[in-house]
């Protein structure tokens, strides 16, 4: 049970600044997900917390005490890697107990802790095997066990599920959530998978080019994305973006002649280029709201939903309709959107306006 403060962290490799000032304050027991595309600096930040890399400037504090410059082993953190990183010639038992063994914990106590952890992860029957004799999912459980057994102040995960197949990834996701609810340890978890971020996090930090684009709860990130980047990164299928223009306190959607009066946009000067975002799941076939006349180009049944790609005044819009919706390619349809579910962004600054 520990707090974690990431204070103005910067990191440069030569002339290139990989982290450009990161600030995050984590309460005890939080599950923070660092979400972002490959190369945005997630692993670098995690390695700095772990002590595997030193920041160029800034401070990291656990329970208010600075840990910058401290050896990784003295930070009381545990880390799980994408590649599992198990010791190849040690048994599962010794792999899990390795951290305790290195910390000179007695054999009997170690054995008890290893068995308890193995029971929690349901890998008791694998304890005498070598990593090479395990499947990917089993290896990842061992890697998690190795972190769990130490009962650290903070858990760090670097894309732990990326090497697993889709079904296993979902199982392990649930498993991780269960373990977090059980242990209530503070977690920092790196992923580029927005579903993992949405399901696991108590808070998400969306990163881009070494900066935090938005820090918030999954609901905030999903319902009120602060920038265009966050809006398109989270959600599948991704948010629809319609080109629009501000006109006398109203927003006209380019190519349609539809003008909307949206709250919060009164101050936007006329003629300003805007981007109107709307999530596919907020687009319906019936109901209140604004109606768009559209022509269906493609209709794809995913099982629970029918994903309809349509054209509205020359712009493309994707709607997630119920599977029962009778829409075929070539059909003319009217798509309805509740005005409250529009997200308005400045086309130039990409910042949210409403």
């Amino acid at each position: 049970m520990s707090t974690l403060t990431i204070d103005a962290i910067r990191k440069s490799y030569g002339a290139i600044e990989t982290l450009k000032g990161i600030n995050i304050d984590l309460a005890s027991g939080e599950f923070l997900v660092l979400l972002g595309a490959s190369g945005c600096g997630k692993s670098t930040l995690l390695n700095i917390i772990a002590g595997l890399a030193e920041p160029t400037s800034g401070d990291i504090r656990i329970d208010g005490r600075s840990i910058v410059g401290m050896h990784p082993k003295d930070r009381d953190i545990a880390m799980v890697f994408q590649s599992y990183a198990l010791y190849p010639n040690l048994t599962v038992h010794r792999n899990i107990g390795f951290g305790l063994e290195m910390r000179k914990v007695g054999a009997a106590e170690r054995d008890r802790a290893v068995h308890e952890t193995a029971r929690l992860l349901q890998i008791e029957t694998l304890l005498e095997r070598k990593p090479a004799q395990l499947s990917g999912g089993q290896r990842q459980r061992v890697a998690i066990g190795r972190a769990l057994v130490r009962n650290p102040k903070i858990f760090l995960f670097d894309e732990p599920l990326s090497n697993l197949d889709a079904k296993l990834r979902m199982e392990m996701r649930t498993e991780l959530k269960r373990l977090h609810q059980l242990t209530k340890t503070t977690v920092v978890y790196v992923t580029h998978d927005q579903i993992e971020a949405m399901t696991l996090a108590t808070r998400i930090a969306v990163m881009r080019n070494g900066r935090i684009e938005q820090l918030g709860t999954p609901e905030e990130i999903y319902n009120r994305p602060a920038t265009l980047y966050v809006a398109t990164f989270v959600g599948a299928p991704p948010m629809n973006l319609l080109a629009a223009t501000a006109q006398a306190g109203r927003v006209t959607v380019d190519g349609t002649g539809i003008a909307l009066a949206l709250p919060g946009l009164e101050a936007v000067p006329a003629g300003r280029r805007l981007v109107l975002g709307v999530r596919p799941e907020a687009v319906g076939q019936a109901g209140e709201g604004i109606g768009f006349s559209a022509r269906c180009e493609v209709a794809e049944l995913t099982g629970p939903e029918r994903i309809v790609t349509a054209s509205v005044g020359g712009q493309r819009i994707v709607a997630a309709l119920p599977a029962a919706a009778r829409v075929e390619a070539g059909d003319d349809v009217t798509l309805h959107v509740d005005p409250a579910s529009f997200h308005v962004f400045d086309a130039e600054t990409e910042a949210r306006l409403n």
Binding site: N47, A50, G51, L52, P72, K73, I77, A78, M79, F81, Q82, S83, Y84, A85, L86, Y87, P88, N89, L90, F98, G99, M102, R103, A132, R146
Partner: protein
Amino acid sequence: MSSTWMTTRAWLLMLPLLAIMIAVIGWPMADTVRLSFTDAKLVGLGGRFVGFDNYVKMLTSGNFQRALYATTWFAVVSVTAEMVIGVLAALLLNQRFYGRAVLRALLILPWALPTVVNATLWRLIYNPEYGALNAALTQIGLLDSYRSWLGEPGTAMTALILADCWKNFPLVALIALAALQAVPRDITSAALVDGAGPFARFRFVVLPYLAGPLMVALVLRTIEAFKVFDIIWVMTRGGPANSTRTLSILVYQEAFSFQRAGSGASLALVVTLIVTVLAVGYGLLVRRAAGSAA
């Protein structure tokens, strides 16, 4: 296509190679076996069949036993030293430091030099009148007067071993360096976070990736060291007082200096047998090492 045809075709394709192998290895080998049961001289005809005489004489002769001892000593000491120095050099060159790339490139140099050049260089270094070793040792005060390192039975073998190490440790170092670079960074990081010190990291993280390749280096180097000829021939010709006369030198002297083809052949076959046993034994070891590291 039937599998018998596949097999037949495979054999057909290999036939030219097999023919060449038989011509250049098989036939001389067979002739050596035949010679080893005769008292043939190097020049002149034939020689009489003498049964196992050559073998009995040779195996019971002091020369053979001394040469076997000298060879084993040379092989064990030089290979052990090469392995240790090679691994240490690799660990060093795997660190991040300024000028590492240049050092890595330089590392290959001793090994790339022809043995004759290397041996000649070391003869210069050991030279009793103007050698660098004498000069260096006198200047730092470890030595009172110049010595003939290759001319004294007490130091010649050690001097040879040193020269051989200098030539061959780079091979071990290169193999070890390649293996070190294959150690996954995540495992090293995990060990750091787990609190493993340098020795534990070497033992549990590095060694599993080093063991297989090092075993291969060990096999290569031991077999080569057991067959050693050129470096010794250039530096000491087996002297002084036969103190550096290894098995290959003995074979050469028997067959060519003393022109006794028959007993030279029997000696050569015994050396071949020893090296084969070493190779097979090591082969098994390598397979075990590879199995445990995977």
